[in-house]
Symmetry: C2
Subunit: 178 residues, 2 copies
DNA sequence: ATAGCGATATATCAAAATGATATATTAGTT
DNA sequence: AACTAATATATCATTTTGATATATCGCTAT
């Protein structure tokens, strides 16, 4: 019941690769998981506390410097991660405010909607460029198995974003003609 | 600050088309907005209460039958909706547990990942069929302006899901070969 | 007719997550 | 020496979910 907390598995998954501080975990999420997942400090730090009390992660406070708290995964944590990984995905969800505004567009009118679509298109175009750079770099390092999985998630983003851009053209055409 | 509640605008947007009960609002969300938005009873009913106190919606309790509470939008509510519609979209977000499991796939192994991708593919294939039926029906009724916007959101879903299916083939190929 | 069942309908609540804010340190730059 | 951006931890109100409770309505099969 209390084990729906997805942030736990994100943390365990990242720590399974290397020990990290809470801050670094947030950075990893914003950099590598950004296109299909998110997480905030407000969930990360309490989750780290709870995972530590539960024996799923271990913490080590640095003596020198600013006393960063570096977390690493334990065997118990790895078991919990593996258990979750084997379960079927519970929820894949799209939540696009742009589409919500389009759906209610009658109240807004065509020009207003066009503005939303153009902003959406710009944003996607920029993010697509980032993803394409990631893909080029990842294709160079296809030695490690882990890079393969990472590349696949990037490829997912690229295919999806290209489809979005195609749709933007279609939508603009529909809105511009009568 | 307290006006980030997106459920308010979903409710106002739906009521702007026709008066509805809380239950019917939930049904509309699950049927028409499903592919890009969600909402639960736990947010709908309290939001209706608050919107009513705020004068953005009006309620009318049925005398006969089970006494359903039918809500309709007020001028104030329509003004609030329009204000939100004009603002740029704040967040468009994908949250796919399947991709999270793929990203951490090293701990799971190729067969395990393939199972996730196959389940994902099946689910998308089914939902794509539903969307394609919607599109066919909507293309028949292209008289009303509102149907145009609805069709565009459906077209978005179709293009996106087709891209997903293309990616699934790619992913399976990568995972099956060395 | 009536028992049973699925859909309709409203409501509440613990748990999860966000987003904002507070506070302090470190490293690099001007 | 002052300034700035990045690092780092922490907390909290607000929002949302997902589950549960309760009751009624309409249909079907016995």
């Amino acid at each position: 019941m209390a084990n729906k907390k997805k942030i736990n598995y994100v943390i365990l998954g990242l720590l399974n690769h290397e020990p990290l501080t809470g801050y670094e975990i947030k950075k990893r999420i914003d950099l590598s998981l950004k296109f299909f997942w998110s997480g905030s400090f407000g969930s990360i730090y309490p989750a780290l506390d709870a995972l530590e009390k539960d024996g799923c992660v271990e913490k080590e406070e640095e003596n020198s410097g600013r006393g960063r708290i570096i977390y690493s995964i334990t065997d118990k944590g790895r078991a919990l991660l593996r258990e979750w990984l084997m379960k079927p995905a519970e929820k894949d969800e799209l939540r696009y405010e742009t589409l919500l505004k389009l759906f209610f567009g009658g109240e807004l009118g065509r020009e207003g909607i066009l503005v939303h679509i153009q902003k959406f298109e710009e944003k996607i175009r920029k993010e697509l460029q980032v993803l394409e750079k990631y893909a080029v770099n990842l294709e160079k390092v296809q030695d490690e198995e882990e890079h393969k999985y990472y590349l696949l998630t990037v490829r997912f983003g690229i295919e999806t974003y290209r489809a979005y851009l195609g749709w933007c053209e279609e939508a603009k055409a529909v809105l511009k003609q009568g």
